[in-house]
Protein backbone atom coordinates (compact mmCIF):
# COMPACT_ATOMS: atom_id res chain seq x y z
CA UNK A 1 0.00 0.00 0.00
CA UNK A 2 1.32 3.36 -0.98
CA UNK A 3 0.63 6.60 0.84
CA UNK A 4 1.47 8.69 -2.22
CA UNK A 5 -1.23 10.97 -3.54
CA UNK A 6 -2.54 10.29 -7.07
CA UNK A 7 -0.67 13.38 -8.26
CA UNK A 8 2.57 12.19 -6.62
CA UNK A 9 2.28 8.84 -8.37
CA UNK A 10 2.27 10.34 -11.86
CA UNK A 11 4.73 13.18 -11.32
CA UNK A 12 7.84 12.83 -13.47
CA UNK A 13 6.22 10.27 -15.77
CA UNK A 14 5.14 12.74 -18.44
CA UNK A 15 7.14 14.20 -21.29
CA UNK A 16 10.64 15.51 -20.61
CA UNK A 17 9.64 18.81 -22.28
CA UNK A 18 12.76 18.52 -24.44
CA UNK A 19 11.12 17.42 -27.71
CA UNK A 20 10.88 20.79 -29.46
CA UNK A 21 14.49 21.63 -28.64
CA UNK A 22 15.57 18.24 -29.98
CA UNK A 23 13.63 18.73 -33.21
CA UNK A 24 14.93 22.27 -33.71
CA UNK A 25 18.58 21.39 -32.99
CA UNK A 26 18.31 18.44 -35.40
CA UNK A 27 17.03 20.70 -38.19
CA UNK A 28 19.49 23.53 -37.51
CA UNK A 29 22.50 21.19 -37.45
CA UNK A 30 21.15 19.58 -40.64
CA UNK A 31 20.88 22.98 -42.33
CA UNK A 32 24.40 23.98 -41.26
CA UNK A 33 25.71 20.63 -42.47
CA UNK A 34 24.54 21.09 -46.08
CA UNK A 35 27.31 23.57 -47.09
CA UNK A 36 29.80 21.77 -44.82
CA UNK A 37 29.14 18.40 -46.51
CA UNK A 38 29.75 19.99 -49.91
CA UNK A 39 33.04 21.38 -48.56
CA UNK A 40 34.07 18.03 -47.09
CA UNK A 41 33.25 16.19 -50.34
CA UNK A 42 35.48 18.66 -52.25
CA UNK A 43 38.26 18.30 -49.64
CA UNK A 44 38.01 14.50 -49.79
CA UNK A 45 38.05 14.57 -53.58
CA UNK A 46 41.25 16.68 -53.65
CA UNK A 47 43.02 14.79 -50.86
CA UNK A 48 42.24 11.20 -51.94
CA UNK A 49 45.40 9.54 -53.25
CA UNK A 50 47.74 12.43 -52.42
CA UNK A 51 51.07 11.66 -50.68
CA UNK A 52 51.53 12.44 -46.97
CA UNK A 53 53.35 15.79 -47.33
CA UNK A 54 50.77 17.23 -49.71
CA UNK A 55 47.90 16.05 -47.49
CA UNK A 56 49.42 17.76 -44.42
CA UNK A 57 50.08 20.98 -46.35
CA UNK A 58 46.50 20.91 -47.61
CA UNK A 59 45.05 20.28 -44.12
CA UNK A 60 47.09 23.27 -42.87
CA UNK A 61 45.23 25.65 -45.16
CA UNK A 62 42.96 27.74 -42.89
CA UNK A 63 39.86 27.28 -45.06
CA UNK A 64 40.30 23.49 -45.15
CA UNK A 65 41.03 23.23 -41.42
CA UNK A 66 38.08 25.45 -40.45
CA UNK A 67 35.60 23.64 -42.73
CA UNK A 68 36.75 20.26 -41.36
CA UNK A 69 36.58 21.44 -37.73
CA UNK A 70 33.08 22.91 -38.20
CA UNK A 71 31.95 19.75 -40.01
CA UNK A 72 33.23 17.54 -37.18
CA UNK A 73 31.59 19.60 -34.41
CA UNK A 74 28.29 20.04 -36.24
CA UNK A 75 28.09 16.42 -37.39
CA UNK A 76 28.81 15.07 -33.91
CA UNK A 77 25.97 17.20 -32.50
CA UNK A 78 23.66 16.08 -35.32
CA UNK A 79 24.52 12.38 -35.14
CA UNK A 80 24.10 12.29 -31.37
CA UNK A 81 20.54 13.61 -31.75
CA UNK A 82 19.83 11.14 -34.56
CA UNK A 83 21.19 8.10 -32.74
CA UNK A 84 19.23 9.14 -29.64
CA UNK A 85 15.99 8.77 -31.63
CA UNK A 86 17.09 5.38 -32.99
CA UNK A 87 17.86 4.16 -29.46
CA UNK A 88 14.56 5.49 -28.11
CA UNK A 89 12.73 3.70 -30.94
CA UNK A 90 14.35 0.27 -30.64
CA UNK A 91 15.58 -0.17 -27.05
CA UNK A 92 12.61 -0.90 -24.80
CA UNK A 93 14.10 -1.70 -21.40
CA UNK A 94 14.65 1.44 -19.33
CA UNK A 95 18.01 0.26 -17.98
CA UNK A 96 19.44 -0.61 -21.40
CA UNK A 97 18.07 2.62 -22.82
CA UNK A 98 19.96 4.71 -20.25
CA UNK A 99 23.17 2.75 -20.92
CA UNK A 100 22.90 3.16 -24.71
CA UNK A 101 22.02 6.86 -24.46
CA UNK A 102 25.12 7.40 -22.31
CA UNK A 103 27.31 5.40 -24.71
CA UNK A 104 25.89 7.45 -27.58
CA UNK A 105 27.02 10.70 -25.96
CA UNK A 106 30.43 9.24 -25.05
CA UNK A 107 30.98 8.01 -28.63
CA UNK A 108 30.08 11.35 -30.21
CA UNK A 109 32.26 13.33 -27.80
CA UNK A 110 35.16 10.89 -28.30
CA UNK A 111 34.97 11.00 -32.10
CA UNK A 112 34.55 14.79 -32.14
CA UNK A 113 37.42 15.56 -29.77
CA UNK A 114 39.76 13.03 -31.42
CA UNK A 115 39.24 14.65 -34.81
CA UNK A 116 39.61 18.16 -33.38
CA UNK A 117 42.77 17.16 -31.50
CA UNK A 118 44.28 15.80 -34.71
CA UNK A 119 43.35 18.94 -36.66
CA UNK A 120 44.81 21.17 -33.93
CA UNK A 121 48.03 19.15 -33.88
CA UNK A 122 48.37 19.23 -37.67
CA UNK A 123 47.82 22.99 -37.71
CA UNK A 124 49.67 24.18 -34.59
CA UNK A 125 51.95 21.51 -33.22
CA UNK A 126 53.79 19.29 -35.67
Amino acid sequence: MSYKTPLGKVRGLGSAKAGTDHFWEQRMSALANLPLVIGVLIIGFIVWGKPYNEVIAFLQHPLVAIILALFVINTCVHMRLGMQVVIEDYVNSDFQKVIFLALNTFFCVLVGFSALYALAKINFGM
Binding site: L34, L41, G49, L59, V72, M83, V111, I122
Partner: protein, 132 residues
Protein backbone atom coordinates in the same frame (compact mmCIF):
# COMPACT_ATOMS: atom_id res chain seq x y z
CA UNK B 1 6.05 -0.19 -16.45
CA UNK B 2 6.78 -1.58 -19.88
CA UNK B 3 8.11 -4.80 -18.35
CA UNK B 4 5.00 -5.78 -16.38
CA UNK B 5 2.55 -5.33 -19.23
CA UNK B 6 4.79 -7.12 -21.76
CA UNK B 7 4.28 -10.44 -19.95
CA UNK B 8 0.69 -10.62 -21.10
CA UNK B 9 0.01 -11.34 -24.78
CA UNK B 10 -1.36 -8.11 -26.20
CA UNK B 11 -2.92 -7.55 -29.61
CA UNK B 12 -0.48 -5.99 -32.07
CA UNK B 13 -1.21 -3.22 -34.51
CA UNK B 14 -0.26 -3.94 -38.12
CA UNK B 15 3.40 -3.18 -38.68
CA UNK B 16 6.19 -3.11 -41.26
CA UNK B 17 5.96 -6.65 -42.63
CA UNK B 18 2.35 -6.52 -43.86
CA UNK B 19 2.68 -3.39 -46.01
CA UNK B 20 3.67 -3.42 -49.67
CA UNK B 21 6.94 -1.46 -49.88
CA UNK B 22 6.64 1.98 -51.48
CA UNK B 23 9.53 4.17 -52.59
CA UNK B 24 8.77 6.75 -49.88
CA UNK B 25 8.80 4.02 -47.22
CA UNK B 26 12.06 2.54 -48.53
CA UNK B 27 13.73 5.98 -48.69
CA UNK B 28 12.62 6.68 -45.12
CA UNK B 29 14.28 3.45 -43.95
CA UNK B 30 17.38 4.12 -46.09
CA UNK B 31 17.64 7.61 -44.57
CA UNK B 32 17.90 6.06 -41.11
CA UNK B 33 20.30 3.30 -42.22
CA UNK B 34 22.64 5.79 -43.94
CA UNK B 35 22.49 7.97 -40.81
CA UNK B 36 23.58 5.07 -38.60
CA UNK B 37 26.29 4.14 -41.12
CA UNK B 38 27.64 7.69 -41.21
CA UNK B 39 27.61 7.75 -37.39
CA UNK B 40 30.20 4.96 -37.31
CA UNK B 41 31.88 6.24 -40.46
CA UNK B 42 32.80 9.42 -38.58
CA UNK B 43 35.15 7.26 -36.50
CA UNK B 44 37.04 6.47 -39.73
CA UNK B 45 37.42 10.20 -40.46
CA UNK B 46 38.73 10.78 -36.91
CA UNK B 47 41.07 7.78 -37.26
CA UNK B 48 42.41 9.10 -40.60
CA UNK B 49 43.00 12.59 -39.12
CA UNK B 50 44.71 11.15 -36.03
CA UNK B 51 47.01 9.06 -38.23
CA UNK B 52 47.86 12.14 -40.32
CA UNK B 53 48.73 14.04 -37.12
CA UNK B 54 51.04 11.21 -35.97
CA UNK B 55 53.38 11.15 -38.96
CA UNK B 56 54.05 9.59 -42.35
CA UNK B 57 54.32 6.00 -41.11
CA UNK B 58 50.93 5.81 -39.40
CA UNK B 59 49.32 7.81 -42.21
CA UNK B 60 50.61 5.43 -44.88
CA UNK B 61 49.41 2.47 -42.80
CA UNK B 62 45.84 3.83 -42.57
CA UNK B 63 45.88 4.82 -46.25
CA UNK B 64 46.96 1.30 -47.22
CA UNK B 65 43.88 -0.07 -45.41
CA UNK B 66 41.58 2.54 -46.96
CA UNK B 67 42.97 1.73 -50.40
CA UNK B 68 42.49 -2.02 -50.10
CA UNK B 69 39.55 -3.62 -51.90
CA UNK B 70 37.36 -3.52 -48.79
CA UNK B 71 38.63 -0.02 -48.06
CA UNK B 72 37.39 1.20 -51.43
CA UNK B 73 33.98 -0.38 -50.86
CA UNK B 74 33.73 1.34 -47.47
CA UNK B 75 34.88 4.71 -48.87
CA UNK B 76 32.46 4.57 -51.81
CA UNK B 77 29.64 3.48 -49.46
CA UNK B 78 30.53 6.36 -47.10
CA UNK B 79 30.44 8.87 -49.99
CA UNK B 80 27.08 7.55 -51.17
CA UNK B 81 25.62 7.51 -47.63
CA UNK B 82 26.78 11.10 -47.03
CA UNK B 83 25.24 12.37 -50.27
CA UNK B 84 22.08 10.31 -49.85
CA UNK B 85 21.52 11.45 -46.27
CA UNK B 86 22.13 15.08 -47.30
CA UNK B 87 19.60 14.81 -50.18
CA UNK B 88 17.17 13.06 -47.83
CA UNK B 89 17.63 15.99 -45.44
CA UNK B 90 16.76 18.45 -48.23
CA UNK B 91 13.62 16.36 -48.88
CA UNK B 92 12.66 16.74 -45.22
CA UNK B 93 13.25 20.51 -45.42
CA UNK B 94 10.90 20.71 -48.43
CA UNK B 95 8.24 18.90 -46.37
CA UNK B 96 8.92 21.14 -43.35
CA UNK B 97 8.08 24.10 -45.56
CA UNK B 98 4.74 22.43 -46.28
CA UNK B 99 5.62 21.72 -49.90
CA UNK B 100 5.91 18.51 -51.94
CA UNK B 101 3.35 16.58 -49.92
CA UNK B 102 0.99 15.53 -52.70
CA UNK B 103 1.20 11.87 -53.73
CA UNK B 104 2.83 12.70 -57.06
CA UNK B 105 5.46 14.98 -55.49
CA UNK B 106 6.24 12.60 -52.64
CA UNK B 107 7.09 9.80 -55.06
CA UNK B 108 9.04 12.14 -57.34
CA UNK B 109 11.33 13.53 -54.65
CA UNK B 110 11.79 10.09 -53.11
CA UNK B 111 13.04 8.82 -56.49
CA UNK B 112 15.12 11.99 -56.88
CA UNK B 113 17.05 11.26 -53.66
CA UNK B 114 18.11 7.75 -54.69
CA UNK B 115 18.80 8.60 -58.35
CA UNK B 116 20.59 11.82 -57.33
CA UNK B 117 22.76 10.18 -54.67
CA UNK B 118 23.72 7.23 -56.89
CA UNK B 119 24.64 9.40 -59.88
CA UNK B 120 26.54 12.03 -57.82
CA UNK B 121 28.54 9.26 -56.10
CA UNK B 122 29.34 7.62 -59.44
CA UNK B 123 30.30 10.99 -60.93
CA UNK B 124 32.66 11.83 -58.04
CA UNK B 125 34.45 8.48 -58.08
CA UNK B 126 34.69 8.19 -61.87
CA UNK B 127 36.07 11.74 -62.04
CA UNK B 128 38.53 10.83 -59.28
CA UNK B 129 39.73 7.74 -61.14
CA UNK B 130 40.12 9.64 -64.42
CA UNK B 131 42.08 12.51 -62.79
CA UNK B 132 44.40 10.27 -60.74
Amino acid sequence: MANSSSKRVRPLSPHLAIYKPTITMVMSIVHRITGVGLYFGMAILAWWLISASMGAMSFDFVESILKSFIGYIVMIAFTWALIHHALGGIRHFIWDLGKGLTEQHRYKIAWATIIGSASLTALLWIAGFILS
